[in-house]
Amino acid sequence: MSEAIQYFQFVLAPQMLIGLVLGVAVILVALGLTIIFGLLDVINMSHGEFYALGAFIAFALSSVGLPFWLLLILVPLVMLPVGYLVERGLIQRVFHSGDRHVRTLLLTFGLGLLLEDAFRLVFGPNPHRPETPITGGVEAFGIFVPSYRLFLIVVGAAIIAAVAFVVYRTRLGAMVRAAAFDRDMAASLGVPVQHVYAGAFAFGVALAGLAGVLLAPIYSIFPTMGRDFILMAFTVVIVGGMGSIAGAVVAGLLLTQIQAIVSLYISPVWSDPIVFGIMVVMLMVRPQGLFGRLGHG
């Protein structure tokens, strides 16, 4: 019996905790992705690079002495106009063509390439690891948890809850959902659809940037950080249901736990193929994902 408890304390629980931290992290990135798809019908291939952009901005600002806590607020604020301009200046240029899905996907793919190389140009190819803002750890039930990871879980959960609240429970969220459900009807009801679209894109991008700031102390900062991370975020969005916030949360927690368990019992190298395999199977049997999409039921 005590062996089982010890096994839990020292083997299983830490692994599940790593999974949970990754889960919260992935959900933060996936949220923006899923909102942008749910509302604009755009697959934002550059989302991972916006996540990286947030981390690099934070890195640059902290090197001139700004404290981490200020960056948590400042970086998303800087990202908002960036996202807004990208939507109005780029996405809208191809948004009304017949082939919206393909052309917006290609456009954001090109933007992602450009950004990734720009990071390499400005910051160099090597990883940077910011100092952990909170050091030390907490012990509960015999399980040791680094403080910053605990902080990340709590803050991450709060951000996710706040986003869900805004989208599902506020007037602003209702406008967004109305625009997602029927663009023309929403416009005729006086919803400023153009601004809602650009605003939602900016919001999604800002969320990715915020995730970048939060996660940099754990996963480091390097030019291709977005590319590596976005695969998982895409998987979460697809499995949860493109455009569904609840789906992203459930799938994010579920898939990262599966990864953690597979890493423990089979091998870490098989965690990725299995998770991507789940995505493929999900697309085959239930392409709309676990949950429906934003504004649709």
């Binding site: 697959i43 780029l90 240029r93 191809v94 063509s97 899905h101 393909v102 052309r103 996907l105 290609l106 456009l107 793919f109 090109g110 933007l111 992602g112 390439l113 450009l114 950004l115 990734e116 190389d117 720009a118 390499r120 140009l121 590319r227 695969l231 895409f234 998987t235 697809i238 190298v269 098989w270 990725d272 193929p273 991507f276 395999g277 995505m279 493929v280 697309l283 085959m284 392409p287």
Partner: protein, 329 residues
């Protein structure tokens, strides 16, 4: 009189002929200057043109955006490398690749063709990711190092033989093969079956009411594209002597999509010119800075916004007009 689509295809043939003429000039120049590097680079451009060709069969003709065509390219490359290390025969590697790619394409086709539109793009992407990770982690396939030591082979062509180590010889051989793949694709796309693919892209919903299942042509197009990608991939280890898991990665699939969109989707020849253009750009920009992706990203975004028909999509109508003016027999 030929109809509009046949005339477009003939215009593509003209553009291919120009490219072939230019390639022969490059080969002659290469031989004269005793060059190896640029001929090898040009050969690689042609091999990746084959991959782009397969993307165009799907995107430009059938309306299916595949973000995972590297799956079949990588499959062909690895299979060819494995065969060559046992039997150093081009034809054995080529035949094995054709058969396995057809089977893999059929299985993959059943999986990915369950979904449409953006979900198709994502499922092809996901499937290629699974394959990439599996190859990356399989020790028997060299894991992250890939397979090295693919022998130089002599390709027996009956009347003559070409060594894969001969820069000009192998370049011309690859040129011939890619042109054959182009010609076969172009022929197929100008048959009633091929027109069905074009119709599928234009308005899938009407097809069943014309008496056709939509699944069959989609599946056949997917298998064909898989075979074109894999046969192009099979040439890679002959050129480089090794294969690595990067061939399966998204960057490979993504590059092929960039090639097709910049070159001109739905023209076939755009895949060839696009690949040449990107290779030239990469080496020219690469000689000044290692940050060629910024330029390529910008160029690609510009193409998506300002030149949605791509380079050849914009040039080809000029040739079509010239062909239309010729006296009708």
């Amino acid at each position: 009189m030929v109809d509009a689509l046949t005339r477009s295809m003939r215009a593509s043939h003209v553009l291919v002929a120009i490219l072939v003429a230019a390639s022969l000039a490059v080969a002659a120049f290469g031989v004269a200057t005793n060059d190896t590097f640029y001929l090898r680079l040009a050969t690689e451009a042609l091999i990746f043109a084959g991959l782009a060709l397969s993307v165009d069969i799907l995107l430009g003709y059938t309306g299916l955006l595949s973000l995972g065509q590297a799956l079949y390219f990588g499959l062909g490359a690895y299979l060819s490398a494995l065969v060559l290390m046992v039997i150093p025969s081009f034809w054995a590697a080529f035949a094995a690749t054709a058969v396995v790619a057809a089977l893999a394409g059929l299985i993959g086709g059943f999986i990915v063709n369950r979904v449409r539109g953006v979900y198709f793009a994502l499922i092809t992407f996901g499937m290629a990711q699974v394959a990439a990770k599996i190859v990356y982690n399989t020790r028997a396939l060299g894991a992250s190092d890939g397979l090295i030591g693919v022998p130089v082979i002599n390709i027996n062509l009956g009347i003559a033989s070409v060594s894969s180590a001969s820069p000009a010889g192998f370049f011309l051989f690859v040129l011939a093969l890619i042109v054959i793949l182009y010609a076969l694709s172009a022929y197929l796309l100008d048959t009633p079956f091929g027109r069905l693919l074009i119709a599928l892209r234009a308005n899938e919903a009407r097809i069943p009411f014309l008496g056709y299942r939509t699944m069959t042509p989609r599946l056949v197009a997917y298998v064909l594209a898989a075979m074109v990608a894999a046969l192009s991939g099979a040439l890679y280890p002959m050129l480089r002597g090794f294969v690595s898991p990067e061939l399966f990665f998204f960057a490979t699939s993504g590059n092929a999509v960039i090639t097709v969109v910049t070159g001109g989707a739905g023209t076939l020849v755009g895949a060839l010119y696009g690949s040449v253009l990107l290779t030239v750009l990469k080496s020219v920009i690469g000689s000044y800075t290692e940050h060629h992706l910024i330029v390529i990203g910008l160029l690609f975004m510009g193409a998506v916004i300002f030149l949605p028909k791509g380079l050849m999509g914009s040039v080809r109508p000029l040739i079509e007009r010239m062909l239309a003016r010729e006296p009708k027999q």
